[in-house]
Structures are given as structure tokens and as C-alpha cells.
Subunit: 215 residues, 2 copies
DNA sequence: TATCCATGTAAAAACCTTTCACATGAGTTG
DNA sequence: CAACTCATGTGAAAGGTTTTTACATGGATA
């Protein structure tokens, strides 16, 4: 796992130069966050995992935050992909596919806590990391697009504003994920699964918009 | 602001002993979080603000996390008080008062970012800080109780489960607060106020439960 | 007044971040 | 193919943090 000597312990390092340090650092950061929480990541330890000196990372990232931001960007990309796959272009039915997005949201939070933490718990400055802003926007666009198509299933007169829909659903999914899904001691107990809670919430919400018949 | 010498610069410190260090440290921690974000707080700097040596805080708190946890506990208490005041025992009308709770939630996130960060962004271990668990429960209980009374406004047969209601509203409020309200660079832009977004969401949600007539 | 012990200090070990001058060697160039 | 360059890594150092330990102080109590 932690090839140190010049003999290379398994992957990458061949001699004085690592060969793929940037990627190795991102992997290491992710592993550290996964293992010890968002605060458990340090540049020094990531360097140690990659088998380089503590100064080496600074050849690839301005500072610790920049490395974290890169992790978050990749997280958003994976997130967008997962949501997109769940949406599956609205098949078989828009409303059903919309619910699948919600499930995918929670699944991501559960299965990729390290990415999720980097994305939402790091308080990274979107301003100073434009990539991050863009990546986040791409992920939200999936939800936005889905909401649009779901809204379009009803006649134009009764059609709800899709942006508002997307924001409501995103907020509820994010709230549930943040409060009840994430591992660790901060999590609260729930008398049902988070998925069921979200599904019920989404259904009720869509009902009130006339997008799904009363159950 | 930072009385250092033994002459006391304004409040508290009288000589070798501070006199009120515990409170001073909590205040300092809150100020630091407010000024520089959740990560901007350090025991050393809190001690500096209080005019004591870096080791002094350890007479009052086991470690940095314990100090942060105490801040969070006080945050939850203030939070519960604000929500309770907004609810005002369901007056003038339960549904209206319920919406007021939502507004109060966002107002708290906006006006008390330091407390909010300590409460929700610190990933404190509820396990190791039972006080924190209790304080959080007290705050949620306000919402829980309100949901119960709102649910009770309809006949028993059509009465929705109030716990589910409370969880849905809490999640949406928390999601909106986390994604759109909190200051700082991580925040996203919104084409409407967060308060309006939440109010609309709550209304739609209550509508689908038959707790409020279609607008 | 004498004593005690809660509360503070100084010092130290062990981390971390970040910078700087210097080393290395992979890839380019003549 | 040899020489060179520059991206990439190292070592050392400055400065900051956490937390522990032995010791100091003085307010409260007997």
C-alpha cells in the first residue's frame, strides 16, 4: 500500500522521480479522508503514503486546499455521472426516474463518504477554485434537466417552475444525506431508511405539484 | 479586545488567575469561527485572545474538540430557543407558525454562522459528547412537537405521521441553509431568497398532506 | 495566619505547512 | 550520442499547532 524505498513497492515509483505523483496524492488524500474523516487529511501524510518527501506535493498543488479541491472536483464529476445514470434520460418513466436520482444521491453519500466530504464539508472557496464551481454546476445540471422533463409531463398551464423543483429536491436530498446518511458519530438515528424518507418526501412533493396522482 | 498584561485590558483578568477563563475561551472560539471560518479556530489562538498561555485551556477542556463541542451545545440551546419562540405555541395558527419555524431556521443560520458551523460543520462525535446529543435532541424536539400539533389539525383518519413531517421539513430547511444560506465562498447563488424557497417548499409539502388548502 | 488545590505558566516533544536552495534524471536538441 | 534544460524531488529550516509535564501562584478555607 505504501511503497517507500526506491525499489518501488507496487505501483508508480521507479526512482528519484515518482512518475505519477499528482494522481498518487489525490488517491492518498481520498484514502485518508475515507479512513479518518475530512480533518484526517494532511499534506504530509498524503506525501508519506505516496512515498515522497513532505515538500514534493507542492510541485503539483499550490497548497493543501488546492489538493482537496481537486479531490472535490473529481467527486462532483463522479457524482454527476451517477445521477445521470440514475436518471437514464427519464426512462422508463420521468417521475420514477426522478426518484431514482434521489436514491442515487443518497447512495453516493453512503458509498463515497470521502468524495462527499471533500465536496460538501470542506468549505472550499468556489471563487478561488473555478474548476470546482464548474464541476458542481455540471452535477446540479443533471437534476435541473430532470426536473424540467418531469415538469413537462403536465400541460403548460399547470406546469411548475422546474428550477424551483430542482432546488427543493436537491435541498431535501442534501439535508437527509447530511443529517442522516453520513457515517460517523455526528449522524442521527432514524426510524426508517434514509431512502424511504426521501422517496416519501419526493412523492409528496410531486403530488402537490400535480405531477403524480395521489397514492 | 485582547487584554494581555496583568493590568487587565477591560474585562475579566485580574492577575495571575483569569477569573473566568472558561467563558472567555468559549467567546474567543466563537469569535474566531465567525471571523475565519470553522477551520480558523485553534486552541492556541483562543488562549491568546483570552490573554493566557497555550496550556491554560487544558485546565477547562480535555482538548480542542471538547471546547468546540461546548460551543456547539450553546449553539443548540440558542437554536432551540429561537425555534421555540418562532413557533410560539402554534399561534396565531399552527400552519403559519410552522412556517415561522422554517424562517427562524434560516435566520439562525444566517445570523449565527459561527454557532451554526460549530453545530453542523464540525463533525463532532455525539458519542463522546453526550451533552451535544442532548442539546441537539432538545432543538429537534421543538420541530417535532410543532409537527405533531400541525398534524393534529386534521381528523385522525387523514392525519399524517408527524415524525416524518418533522424529518422532511428539517431536512429541507437544513439542506437550504447548508447549500444556499451560509456565508462564504462555498455558497451558491439563488434566483430567489432562501426564505422564499423554503416557504414555498413547506407550503407545497403541507398541501400534499392536506394540511393546507391548495393555494 | 497557614495551608490547599484550582488554575495558570514554561518548557518540551511531536506534529504540520510552506518556502528555498539544491539535486536528479527524463526528454529534447544540436 | 553528448550536452543541456527544466520539471520534479529532497533536505533543511522557520513558524505554527496540540498536548503533556513539572512547577508557580494566590484565593478560599480551616
Amino acid at each position: 500500500m505504501s511503497w517507500t524505498g526506491p525499489g518501488d513497492g507496487g505501483s508508480g515509483r521507479r526512482g528519484y522521480h515518482h512518475g505519477n505523483l499528482r494522481e498518487a496524492l489525490i488517491d492518498a488524500a481520498l484514502a485518508l479522508i475515507a479512513a479518518k474523516g475530512p480533518a484526517g487529511f494532511t499534506v504530509a501524510e498524503a506525501a508519506r503514503l505516496a512515498g515522497v518527501s513532505p515538500a514534493a506535493p507542492y510541485r503539483h498543488f499550490r497548497d493543501a486546499e488546492a489538493l482537496l479541491a481537486e479531490v472535490a472536483v473529481r467527486g462532483y464529476d463522479l457524482f454527476a455521472e451517477r445521477l445521470s445514470k440514475a436518471w437514464n434520460n427519464g426512462r422508463p418513466q420521468p417521475v420514477r426516474a426522478f426518484e431514482d436520482i434521489g436514491r442515487a444521491y443518497l447512495t453516493f453519500a453512503r458509498d463515497q463518504p470521502a468524495y462527499y466530504a471533500a465536496m460538501f464539508d470542506s468549505h472550499l472557496a468556489m471563487d478561488t477554485h473555478p474548476d470546482l464551481q464548474a464541476a458542481g454546476d455540471r452535477a446540479f445540471a443533471v437534476l435541473r434537466e430532470a426536473a424540467e422533463q418531469v415538469a413537462a409531463t403536465v400541460s403548460k398551464g399547470r406546469r411548475p417552475p422546474s428550477l424551483m423543483m430542482a432546488l427543493h429536491i436537491w435541498s431535501m436530498a442534501h439535508g437527509i444525506a447530511s443529517l442522516f446518511v453520513r457515517e460517523g458519530p455526528g449522524r442521527r438515528k432514524l426510524p426508517m431508511t434514509a431512502e424511504d424518507l426521501l422517496e416519501a418526501g419526493v412523492l409528496l412533493y410531486l403530488q402537490s405539484l400535480g405531477l403524480v396522482g395521489a397514492q
